[in-house]
């Protein structure tokens, strides 16, 4: 008991340098916990991008590439799928629903996705959540568009706004579909997924703007007006990909094999969960690097503490001799130093936790507003507990050096101190 009191009072007596040490440990702890938290949040938000879909089907390529363009709107498809093939699988007896996806156009750098109203009915993200409209209605007409939350916010669009689509995916495109503008009829609620950065139109709309085009360019002198195009047959010949929901999940792998072995067309069916995991593994390299960096920061913090403890050794020599004269065992002197490190480390960890908690609470509304990402409130979980435990043990191990020096000195000095 007396040792705890002495430790506490002695620390308080040196509070300025101790508070600085504490801060440096708290900052490294909060960095470590913060990085871990961001990693977990990023992973869950990443894995939350798509849910409830059993298969993603596209032209044969890699499953990561398929996932990237069909779900994350990154990169482009190498090939399209024949409309007939899509119809075949749409009416497959195992299939409950499908969502066709047609990509290739953009608006101000945001990808345009052609689909049908099943998209609003069946697409699920996060924990099997449906898409919801913040304003307006799903598209019904050929030239209707539904915007993702971020598109509407960043570009300042509201219902009734008229937008022109551009050919290709770049932010600046020289070939725009100027003669067939779209009208914003709906704006989706934020989802924290790439949907927020997508402009949704009907498959017919995509078909209509390309009706007077050939091989990716408008045919000179051959222009069909918007009204006329809308009345024409707008059934697409091809789509980019489609999502599949099955009647029974048990049939997933059977249907996957069937699609992969399709003799009519080279197709690839990917199970989203498996593809996401593979994709995350390649993205995940980054987290290892981040972790290594934070561990170094932590070690720097602990070395700072070690320096502080070592630098006080000389001035505390007298203190140790007094305690020895009182009858304190050399082991108690050793313990005094270990306790000191323990107190600093525990307080540093607590302070670090508070930093993270407060930081997340402060960042939450901003992140949600700016990125549509919903952050979970930070609470230390089992992993964090283990990490904090390791930090404290490491601190105590580090402090063994000054403790042992003090121990040896008390044995040498005895009651007389050579200062």
């Amino acid at each position: 008991m007396i040792l705890l009191k002495l430790t506490w009072r002695s620390l308080w007596n040196r509070r300025i340098s101790i508070v600085l040490t504490l801060l440096s440990i708290a900052i490294s702890v909060s960095l470590l916990l913060g990085v871990e938290y961001i990693r977990k949040e990023a992973k869950s938000s990443f894995l939350n991008t798509i849910s409830g879909t059993d298969l993603v089907v596209g032209a044969r390529s890699g499953q990561v590439q398929l996932l990237l363009y069909s779900v994350f709107r990154i990169g482009n498809a190498t090939n399209n799928i024949d409309w007939e093939t899509y119809q075949h699988y749409k009416h497959h007896k195992q299939v409950k629903w499908t969502i066709p996806i047609s990509l290739g156009d953009s608006h101000q750098g945001y990808r345009v996705l052609g689909t049908n109203t099943d998209y609003f009915k069946y697409y699920r993200y996060a924990d099997k959540q449906n898409l919801a409209l913040a304003k307006g209605v799903p598209f019904a007409g050929v030239y209707d568009a539904v915007l993702g939350a971020e598109v509407a916010k960043k570009l300042g669009y509201t219902l009734g706004h008229s937008i022109t689509l551009a050919h290709g995916a770049g932010a600046t495109s020289f070939s725009e579909h100027k003669n067939k503008p779209f009208k914003v009829v709906g704006i989706l609620k934020p989802t924290g997924t790439p949907i927020d950065r997508t402009v949704h139109v009907s498959l017919e709309g995509i078909e209509a703007i390309h009706i007077d085009w050939k091989s990716g360019a408008p045919v000179a002198g051959f222009e069909i007006s918007a009204e006329k195009a809308a009345r024409m047959n707008l059934e697409p010949e091809t789509i980019t990909a489609f999502l599949v929901g099955l009647k029974s999940r048990a049939a997933t792998f059977r249907l996957q094999r069937e699609i992969n072995e399709d003799r009519q067309e080279p197709l690839l069916a990917a199970v989203p969960g498996i593809a996401l995991a593979e994709l995350w593994k390649s993205v995940g390299q980054f987290e290892t690097i981040l972790r290594v960096i934070t561990v170094f920061v932590l070690v720097a913090g602990l070395l700072g503490m070690l320096t502080t403890l070592l630098s006080t050794l000389n001035e505390r020599r007298r203190e140790m001799a007094i305690l020895r004269a009182m009858g304190a065992y050399p082991l108690q002197i050793l313990l005094l130093f270990l306790l000191e490190a323990l107190v600093i480390a525990v307080l540093g960890c607590l302070l670090g936790c508070i930093f993270v908690l407060v930081g997340v609470l402060l960042a939450q509304p901003w992140i949600t507003a700016e990125y549509g990402l919903y952050l979970n409130t930070w609470l230390p979980d089992g992993d964090d507990g283990i990490m904090l435990g390791l930090i404290v043990s490491l601190a105590v191990i580090f402090s063994a050096l000054p403790a042992l020096i003090a121990y040896r000195r008390t044995l040498q000095d005895g009651l007389t101190v050579k200062v």
């Binding site: 008991m1 007396i2 002495l6 009072r9 002695s10 308080w12 007596n13 007298r318 203190e319 001799a321 007094i322 020895r324 004269a325 009182m326 009858g327 304190a328 065992y329 050399p330 005895g414 009651l415 007389t416």
Partner: protein, 225 residues
């Protein structure tokens, strides 16, 4: 009963061939305040550490209060020191982060015996401080605000706390001026006698010798020199 009995005491520092200390015989009776005079290098420090149980003799025996301290573990010697000895240093006796009263009660936290003897720790610390002419205004101060003389008197109060049989004072007056020194020694004697403690006073200063009934010249009893 003798407080201290040394018999053929030898002490040799590790790595040295020659004894630092060789005292064939020394005994000090209870209540017989002793002035141990020695120049630096006369083995004063070594003897002090041996008496306090920090060091263990190379050979020969040390008996304190009738107990042989030669062949016991260092933990037992530490325990013995905590229970039966009060120590006063030259200066910087006090822990700067404790209050005056907390400094005085400190020995009671390391020795149950002294805690029991002190009874109400707070009360007996205050009465000791009173007797050593440290008024109430001084008790609230932080230790570093006290003068050296005041600090040394607080150290006396601490050494006397819980009535240990032996008070070891290692040049406690060297940092004091003559007037303060005289007052300090008088107060030390008065309080030590009031609770029947024996003072072992180590110093090189011959002027203090007059206060003591017995003066031992270390250079005369240490055969190693």
């Amino acid at each position: 009963m003798n407080i201290v009995e040394l018999d053929q005491l030898h002490y040799c520092w590790k790595g040295q061939t020659k004894d630092t200390l060789h005292i064939p015989e020394l005994s000090i009776a209870q209540g017989e305040h002793v002035f141990l005079r020695g120049e630096s290098g006369s083995g004063k420090t070594t003897l002090l550490n041996l008496l306090a149980g920090i060091l263990s003799p190379s050979s020969g025996s040390i008996r304190l209060l009738g107990q042989d301290l030669h062949n016991v573990s260092s933990i037992k010697r530490d325990r013995f020191r905590a229970d039966h000895m009060g120590v006063i240093f030259q200066q910087f006796n006090l822990l700067p982060y404790l209050s005056v009263v907390e400094n005085v009660t400190l020995p009671c936290h390391f020795s149950a015996r002294r805690r029991d003897k002190a009874g109400d720790m707070q009360q007996s610390a205050l009465s000791l401080l009173d007797h050593l002419q440290l008024g109430e205004t001084l008790r609230g101060k932080i230790v570093s605000e006290l003068s050296v003389g005041q600090q040394q008197r607080v150290a006396v109060a601490r050494a006397l706390m819980g009535q240990p049989e032996i008070i070891i004072a290692d040049e406690p007056t060297s940092a004091l001026d003559t007037n303060t020194r005289d007052r300090f020694i008088k107060l030390l004697f008065a309080q030590a006698e009031a609770q029947n403690s024996t003072i072992l006073f180590v110093s090189h200063d011959p002027y203090i010798a007059d206060y003591f009934p017995r003066v031992i010249e270390l250079s005369e009893i240490n055969q190693a020199l």
